[in-house]
Subunit: 316 residues, 2 copies
DNA sequence: GGGTTTCGATAAGCGAGAGTTATACCCTGG
DNA sequence: CCAGGGTATAACTCTCGCTTATCGAAACCC
């Protein structure tokens, strides 16, 4: 019934004291004010303005509207400002989820970058494996997920997700073979070692996270055998310890080897090569939210600044 | 930038959970909501709604708008309700001014009538002679004035006031001649006495209020003489006392004689007859204000219920 | 797994609201 | 009495916003 334009007009009339002055203040022509007051009076069924000689004066009802105009318009401006702050990256909240090994350097560096560039944007960060983070994305409890996919396999929930999600590649992460330092494969040569998967039929294996384990099974099947998986742990420090003690060997993403070192293991390239793709995942809508976009850009920048892959050979 | 319609829509979406449901709730079609959200997003430059599969979900910015919608719309509804209360006579304020002798019965009865019919309407009443009350009307400190005019003369400020003001006749008030009970004119007969003004050339006169005095001078000049005005007072009780003591005679409006009595005076009709017209005066704008209109109607009703003029002869 | 239902986006079209210019009328002040 | 400033009105135009119709896609159900 009464809209913000009406309130604005009534307030302007109260302040300016005449239709003409109010029109100038609001950037309207004088008849526009005259007609708008008339419309308001028709709608409210009451006289709002007393036309007295050369000037005008608000009636009681008109004063009521003019009096309410201040608070209402102020509250509306506050709402607009709040939205503008989000749009202008002076404010905003991003709920970020990433799998544990991305948390090491990729995510912290991106978080620092955003915090430095847009101090008003707050990012909440939760560790989660890809299936969970994508589920959160679907459920609306996450805005941006850092996930990974091994070559060929999807993100973990079906092919249709390619349409549903907005996927941005961050880093291609080569998968390495980690063996004890005194393993025959490691001793065959110094640097630049490459191990054929097909030569690892009789090894004992250590598997990482569930999806990594799935990848291990996949590549082994492609190589024509089923691996003997004796240990499973998501803790790659433990994986390295197991390997160093000669209890098995493992496929470990390069990104992890950059932060988890062990003096008694050796790193080898794998043949056929295998890699996982680390990517930022969000929805097309959220991708257009400034704070989310800024965080994604920071992730890209952070990814570009990552050090080169570790050289094969002994680590530590 | 953001109007009330936008807030209403965002709130409806937040509550209903879908565009279609929000459209039904607001009485719009579904595309209307879709377009309105799109407009809002264009204007704010931010994504407000996340389209996820079949349903929609508000983004942070969308939630901001939805959250602000409540208070803003509530304040706006409050303003509308306040105006509606004034329009519906559940509220309202009337600043009434009347000359003293109208205050006796005409005004109190009208006030009581309004108070009974519209308890929410409050009337503030100030005594004022016509020139002042009309000035207040012009100045905006009065909404309704009860004034009077003697036959022919205007309201006191020039002929243009006929156009400027909205004048409603209430009562025609005959002017009487009041003389001491033992005055020769009173003794000439019992009831139904009529005094020729031209026979009062040598009397001593008592004048009332300034305008009444003006009227006295006017009618005497019309009758061909200048009255000997020995006393002036606006207090008609004093006038009657003066007359009773034989200190002079006076022209007194009938309306006053209905409330001010004295045993020792006689009331006579005057020839040529003279009367003052009591009328309610307001502006065309204020005349359309419900509370003012109601008060004016009450004055009319009160006037119609006034007792018949006092009979000539002795009062008390 | 396929059909059905439901929901959102889009296109086209139209109607009304709202603003502009031009002009008349009126009050006010010198 | 005249000039200046202010409002109301008329006529015109245009843009905004709603509606109907239709499509595409996702979810639900058998």
């Amino acid at each position: 019934m009464i809209d913000t334009a009406g309130l604005r007009v009534m307030r302007a009339i109260a302040e300016a004291g005449s239709f003409t002055a109010a029109a100038h203040a609001l950037g309207y022509s004088q008849p526009a004010i005259s007609q708008m007051v008339r419309r308001l009076e028709d709608r409210t069924g009451t006289v709002l303005v007393e036309r007295v000689g050369r000037s005008v004066r608000l009636t009681e009802a008109g004063q009521v509207l003019a009096r309410h105009a201040g608070p209402v318009l102020a509250a509306l401006d506050a709402a607009e400002e709040e939205v503008a702050a989000i749009a202008g990256l002076r404010s905003g909240r991003v709920r970020l989820m990433a799998f544990p090994s991305a948390s090491a350097t990729l995510v912290p560096r991106a978080l620092a970058l955003v915090k430095r560039t847009y101090p008003g944007v707050s990012i909440t960060f939760t560790e989660a494996e890809p299936p969970e983070s994508l589920a959160a994305l679907r459920a609306g409890t996450c805005d941006l997920a850092v996930a990974f996919t091994y070559n060929g396999t999807d993100l973990g929930r079906g092919e249709q997700d390619v349409d549903l999600f907005e996927v941005t590649p961050l880093i291609d992460d080569d998968v390495r073979l980690v063996v004890p330092r005194d393993h025959p494969l490691a001793e065959a040569g110094g640097r630049g070692l490459v191990a054929d998967l097909s030569a690892l039929t009789d090894e004992t294996w250590i598997a990482g996270c569930p999806r990594c384990r799935g990848h291990l099974l996949q590549v082994c099947r492609d190589a024509g055998f089923a691996p003997d998986v004796a240990y499973e742990t998501e803790d790659y420090v433990a994986v390295m310890g197991l390997i160093a003690e000669g209890l098995g060997i493992a496929l470990v993403p390069d990104l992890i080897l950059r932060t988890v070192h062990h003096p008694d293991v050796s790193v080898l390239a794998v043949n056929p090569p295998s890699r996982r793709r680390i990517q930022a995942v969000t929805t097309p809508d959220l991708h257009r939210v400034p704070a989310v976009k800024a965080t994604l850009d920071a992730l890209l920048e952070s990814a570009a600044a990552q050090p080169r892959p570790v050289r094969t050979g002994s680590t530590g």
